[in-house]
């Protein structure tokens, strides 16, 4: 059954089985592979995208229940906060392998959009759902603070 999704501002038709999570629609059907698969149970955050600006786990989000919500992926994240995060990430080489970083960046971007000057605790709370086995957590903390400064 064809479903129309609004992804990165563009209406997009997809024909995936009922209940297929948004993650696999993005990756396998639309070839938008920036959003990563990590666990399928909403525990690791690698698949984080924005739904109407809020960070959500696309691995547990049935694509056919999203109506006309605005979906933003790493490929389409282009707000000033998203670009500030990218600049900070590049300036300090925040990522290591980078696999979880699409999700980290989407979560961090949503944080800065709702809280432009987060405290350490705010950062820990917002980012705690995003795992990184390379353990770039300290770099991410520093990166978010740097991005906040760039936005100020």
């Amino acid at each position: 059954m064809a479903t129309t999704l609004t992804i990165n501002g563009k209406k997009t038709q997809v024909d995936a089985a009922e209940g297929t999570p948004l993650l696999w629609v993005l990756r396998d059907h639309l070839k938008m592979t920036g959003t990563k698969f990590g666990c399928s149970v909403g525990q690791c955050g690698s698949c984080t995208v924005h739904l109407d600006g809020n960070p959500v786990r696309s691995c547990i989000l049935p694509h056919d229940q999203l109506g006309d919500a605005q979906i933003t992926t790493i490929e389409g994240a282009a707000t000033t906060a998203a670009e500030a995060i990218r600049e900070a990430w590049i300036a300090a080489d925040v990522p290591q392998c980078g696999y979880c970083q699409s999700g980290q960046i989407m979560t961090a971007t949503a944080l800065l959009e709702s809280n432009p000057n987060p405290s350490d605790d705010d950062i820990d709370e917002a980012m705690n759902g995003n795992l990184c086995r390379c353990a770039t957590y300290l770099s991410i903390r520093r990166g978010i603070k740097d991005a906040a400064k760039r936005l100020a």
Binding site: A17, D28, S40, I85, C97, Y99, S102, N130, L138
Partner: protein, 772 residues
């Protein structure tokens, strides 16, 4: 005017460019040139055999410039990286080494990921060896190319080469404004003879532009935009997706299967039975049945509908609780002597003061964020694979062996690796993909779900360690006995391999650097019931946890400061050779002449970290400092951890101070990143990590049954000091991991008086230390 003379070359590369992995095949077809080496312009038609040049005998392997460097007419410098990029920034490091000696402009550098092929020499990207194995040869390759460019310029100008100097992508003529770009010189340079190593002039250290500098990563600008190709991102025309239902027990097999419901799922195309592996496990697929579908989710959904009864096979008796008792019982019996100085058992039995302790570390999982996966495609009897493998060359060999075809018919493209930590140097998943693809007759991507990755891994060995020591009246250690018991990685590769291999013992057991007059290392037998594999820092994990916990236990028994006691045990600066005391010690595959065990360097990092931490300062109530030092992967690391434990047992880590001496360092920024990541990797394992088996099947299914450290639990601060050194480069990817656990356990003891001897400290659900 030079554009005409230096005509544009035909296509130069067959290596996979991860930025455009799909364009390569079409590109090759249209170019009509089959080039196996990334070559200098002018040497493009070089076939593999021609790669052997004047520089094949350089330490580390072939340094022939055309194997590593290609210069385009526009000046782009393509540097082949034959190591796999998995976050350690090997693209950047290999690029820095070549570009420095080549005197290229960093802006012109583009990395080409090498295919798996023996011509590159060792491609096994583990053991923290990429820089150590390639530093010299890549310098030689870069410098040889630089001298060829200078010679080409000299010929063009009709002057002596000594009057020409390479500088940032150009060759200048002394005493004039004349200059020729590398792009303009490339074709002519490529026609010159490659100089002999003795004629290659390497830069002096003070001339380095890139080596030793915090050069930014070449991968991060793509990563932040969701670009770059990990294994799981590979796509091929006409590709289908597969997941596999594998036997819960190693060497189990399907008894009966009904796939009719699975095939009824929308998108499911067919199922494929995989062959049951014969022991030893090697890198064979585990067997079971694949569900092939039009997308990954359909394959996963179809797999849920399979009705399978399993024959549990020979490992169904493996239960972690009873296995632990066996390991501990073995550790209490004399084992095989692996190193001996004096007579530790007699000294201990005759001593009035003894200390004894036993330590336990469970099975652990790599759980890299990108689960293993691979894509395979057959074209007649030719096989091409794209996969997140740490060793594409060995993957090619394994595929050749499994399918009994010539390696020349197999192409293995290494993608980016979304974490690896040793799991991805075991290419069973690539064999799976190739097998299923052959059966289906289409390109197939096999994706392992998180459950697959956790339950069908190559696990870090579960272990028991026992230490006994004799203390003199003044508290000095006069005899030390360590006995280690764990299933060997060798069991995965050879039947009956039931005692630790020499190189496993050499990672923290047979290389103890202490000056105690009596010292003995023993090993006991243990049989494996799951696939045992290497995980970041390998047996250092358990052996170093036990060793440096025990040092602090001895210090406590002696009533001495644990840092001072540790430094006393290490003693005066000297070189140690465990081989003189009966150890079959491989020294991380390095010679002890090149990479001695230097207690002076070990003590120095210990003193440095202690100073950074303010060792001895007055701490707030509930705080404690712990220290551990260790040489691993020919690199010296010391870590001091401060913990804070509140009265209810809540644990936090206000600070960590780490000193590292890895000899010459190529990239200081990425060295620090490895120290941070490696430390937290060790902390995560120590606090939370435990894989258990029941009736031979792994019990943990997904996060959070298997728990990783999260940001809120991470250290509040971690300070790294790099010891300035001109010694040969050592490893950086692993050496921070082993010391984290004992430093943490020692800090907890200092804060609370509670001694941790069994890991994990908190486990999958724990939030507080049990202070009872």
């Amino acid at each position: 005017m030079f554009q005409k003379h230096f005509a544009p070359p035909p296509a130069a590369s067959t290596a996979l460019d991860p930025s455009s992995p799909l364009s390569r095949r079409g590109f090759m077809k249209t170019s009509g040139v089959f080039v196996l080496a990334v070559s200098l312009v002018g040497r493009l038609q070089a076939q593999e055999k021609d790669v052997a040049g004047a520089l094949t005998q350089v330490a580390g392997g072939d340094a022939t410039p055309s194997l590593w460097i290609s210069i385009e007419p526009d000046g782009t410098v393509k540097i082949t990286c034959h190591r796999s990029e998995m976050g350690q920034q090997t693209w950047t490091a290999m690029g820095q080494i070549v570009a420095d000696e080549l005197d290229a402009d960093w802006q012109d550098v583009k990395i080409i990921q090498a295919l798996g092929h023996p011509k590159y020499g060792d491609q096994n990207t583990d053991g923290s060896r990429s820089v150590r194995y390639n530093f010299h040869r890549l310098r030689v390759a870069g410098a040889a190319m630089r001298s060829m460019l200078e010679a080409a310029a000299a010929a063009h100008w009709g002057i002596a080469a000594s009057e020409c100097h390479a500088n940032l992508g150009q060759v200048t003529r002394d005493g004039s404004r004349d200059r020729l770009s590398y792009g303009e010189l490339a074709e002519a340079a490529g026609k010159l003879e490659v100089p002999a190593e003795a004629d290659v002039q390497l830069k002096s250290r003070d001339q380095w532009r890139y080596i030793g500098k915090p050069i930014p990563s070449l991968t991060v600008p793509k990563i932040v935009r969701g670009q770059g190709t990990f294994g799981i991102d590979v796509d091929r025309p006409n590709m289908v997706h597969a997941v596999v239902a594998r036997p819960p027990q190693v060497f189990g097999e399907i008894e009966t299967v009904d796939d009719s419901q699975a095939k009824a799922v929308k998108g499911v195309l067919q199922t494929v039975r995989l062959p049951k592996p014969a022991a030893p496990a090697l890198f064979q697929p585990l067997g079971g049945i694949a569900v092939v579908a039009t997308d990954t989710w359909a394959a996963i959904s179809g797999r849920k509908k399979l009705a399978i009864t399993w024959n549990k096979g020979p490992n169904a008796g493996y239960n972690s609780d009873t296995y632990r008792e066996q390991l501990e019982a073995t550790a209490r019996q004399p084992g095989k002597v692996e190193r001996n100085r004096g007579d530790a058992p007699t000294a201990i039995s005759n001593s009035k003061r003894t200390v004894t302790a036993e330590y336990y570390v469970p099975n652990l999982s790599h759980s890299q964020m990108e689960p293993v996966n691979a894509t395979a495609e057959w074209n007649g009897d030719k096989l091409e694979v794209w996969a997140c493998v740490q060793d594409p060359q060995n993957t090619r060999g394994v595929l050749a062996g499994f399918f009994e075809i010539s390696p020349e018919n197999i192409t293995v493209n290494a993608t980016w690796l979304g974490g690896a930590f040793g799991r991805k140097s075991k290419p069973d998943f690539a064999v799976e993909a190739a097998f299923i693809s052959r059966e289906v007759g289409r390109p197939v991507k096999v994706t392992w779900t998180r459950e697959d990755d956790l339950q069908h891994g190559y696990y870090h060995a579960v272990s028991a360690q026992r230490f006994e020591a004799a203390l003199a009246e003044n508290g000095d250690c006069t005899a030390l006995l360590n006995r280690v018991v764990y299933p060997s990685i060798g069991s995965t590769f050879a039947p009956g391999f039931n005692t630790p291999a020499n190189w496993e013992l050499g990672l923290g057991a047979s290389d103890i650097p202490f000056n105690t007059p009596n010292l003995r290392t023993e090993a006991g037998e243990a049989e494996a019931h799951v696939r045992i594999g290497w995980l970041r820092s390998v047996t250092n994990i358990q052996q170093v946890f036990a060793l440096y916990s025990f040092v602090a236990e001895m210090a406590h028994a002696a009533g001495r400061d644990p840092k001072d006691y540790l430094l006393d045990l290490i003693g005066e600066p000297r070189l140690i050779d465990p081989k003189t005391e009966g150890a079959d010690y491989p020294n991380y595959d390095a010679s002890l002449d090149d990479y001695p065990i230097d207690t002076g360097r070990l003590a120095h990092v210990g003193k440095t970290a202690a100073k950074m931490a303010g060792w001895g300062r007055k701490l707030p109530k509930g705080h404690g400092l712990g220290i551990a030092v260790h040489r691993s992967f020919v690199c010296y690391v010391a870590t001091v951890i401060e913990v804070k434990v509140s009265p209810d047992g809540t644990l936090s880590i206000p600070g960590i101070w780490l000193a590292v001496d890895a000899g010459t360092i190529v990239n200081t920024r990425h060295a620090v990143a490895q120290m941070e990541g490696g430390t937290i990797f060790g902390l995560s394992n120590a606090l939370y990590g435990e894989i258990t088996a029941k009736d031979g099947a792994i019990e943990q299914a997904n996060f959070p049954d298997w728990r990783l450290m999260r940001m809120a639990e991470s250290p509040e601060a971690l300070e790294v000091e790099i010891v300035d050194s001109t010694e040969r480069p050592g490893g950086l990817g692993e050496p921070a991991t082993p010391v984290a656990a004992p430093a943490l356990a020692n800090a907890i003891f200092a804060a609370t008086g509670k001694r941790i001897r069994s890991l994990p400290i908190l486990g999958p659900t724990g939030t507080k230390l049990d202070l009872g």
